[in-house]
């Protein structure tokens, strides 16, 4: 009977060991989360769904962002175009101010000097060798036609509404009298201006025919003060 007991206790020992061991192994598995309970599974599913929803939302927002960025880029492009336009306008305004004589101008140009001819005792009419306002007109018009940006007579700027009158031996420019010789300075391309004046049968020839002493000088730096009072 004693050996019976011993064998039986060995059998129970093995059984107990196996049950306990198996219990522990199964518990460990549960702890590791390999075997999910229904609730955990549902939690997983709902979390996954949330994640998917979030990602979809993200994608939509990303698309929206892209569209907005596209819009911003378009606006920027139009802004830059507008800036270009404004820049051109500012340039135009500057140019017009220059033409109107409201700003100081400096640059390359030519200087034309018109002087009365030598006194000639044989000539009874003194007007034949004096500089008249139409001579000045001719020179000024020719210079403007050839692309002069600004013109001054004896240092006085000519504006769009300037007038030149012949008052006896002198001429009046915008109310200021100027005696001969007249120095007409023009800012522009010196080559173009001088060749325009020197053209055969052109202004220079006509003036020389009228007994006027005509001299042309290219200058690299001419500065004109703005007109005062307008």
């Amino acid at each position: 009977m004693d050996s019976n007991r011993v064998v039986l206790s060995i059998v129970f020992l093995v059984l107990g060991f196996m049950i306990a061991f198996s219990f522990r192994v199964t518990k460990d598995d549960g702890d590791q989360g390999n075997r999910l309970t229904d609730r955990q599974w549902e939690q997983h599913i709902s979390l996954r769904n949330q994640l998917i929803e979030q990602e979809e939302k993200n994608r939509e927002l990303q698309k929206e962002l892209n569209a907005k960025q596209e819009k911003v880029r378009e606006i920027e492009t139009s802004l830059s175009k507008e800036a270009q336009v404004f820049f051109n306008m500012a340039e135009d305004a500057e140019k017009y101010r220059m033409f109107l004589g409201k700003v100081k101008v400096s640059g390359k140009g030519v200087k034309v000097t018109l002087a009365d001819g030598e006194y000639d005792p044989n000539e009874e009419n003194i007007n034949n060798y004096l500089v008249h306002e139409q001579h000045v007109f001719k020179v000024i018009n020719e210079l403007y036609i050839s692309g002069a940006a600004a013109i001054a007579v004896n240092g006085q700027r000519i504006a769009h509404n300037s007038y030149i009158l012949c008052t006896g031996p002198v001429i009046t420019v915008d109310g200021y009298q100027h005696p001969a010789p007249f120095e007409i300075t023009a800012i522009g391309d010196p080559e173009v201006l001088s060749s325009a004046l020197n053209i055969t049968g052109g202004v220079k020839d006509q003036l020389v025919n009228d007994q006027i002493v005509f001299s042309l000088e290219k200058q690299s730096e001419i500065t004109m003060e703005p007109l005062l009072g307008n």
Partner: protein
């Protein structure tokens, strides 16, 4: 009588204290082996109650059934057939039958005892 229970407790303590890790796929074998062991145990109790208990049969059956069940599960895994289900089924059915027989014998014993007590 206390020696087997002592053995059970000591075995359980050893099982809880051992820190051997076995892979997940072998956990199945272990549960099958436990099932076989329980089946044999209840078979032994039934035999005892029916007075046909043989220690050699019991002990050899205990270990042999455990090994057989585990190897059946092993074979099933390697064949791709869930053979351990066969073992679970067979041992499960026998377990229930054994327990049912034990219950009836106990009932009979209990009723005869109470009758005898009434007679007395």
């Amino acid at each position: 009588m206390w020696l087997p229970i002592m053995g059970l407790i000591i075995g359980a303590i050893i099982g809880l204290l051992t820190d051997i890790r076995i892979p997940d796929e072998y956990a199945n074998y272990l549960s099958i082996a436990i099932l076989a062991a329980l089946d044999t145990l209840f078979g032994g109790i039934r035999a005892q109650l029916q007075n046909i208990y043989d220690e050699k049969v019991f002990v050899s059956g205990f270990f042999f059934n455990i090994i057989l069940a585990a190897s059946l599960a092993f074979l099933g895994v390697h064949l791709g057939v869930d053979l351990y289900l066969a073992a679970v089924f067979a041992f499960g059915v026998r377990l229930f039958q054994n327990i049912a027989v034990i219950r009836r014998i106990m009932l009979t014993k209990w009723s005869t005892t109470s009758k005898r007590q009434k007679k007395n």
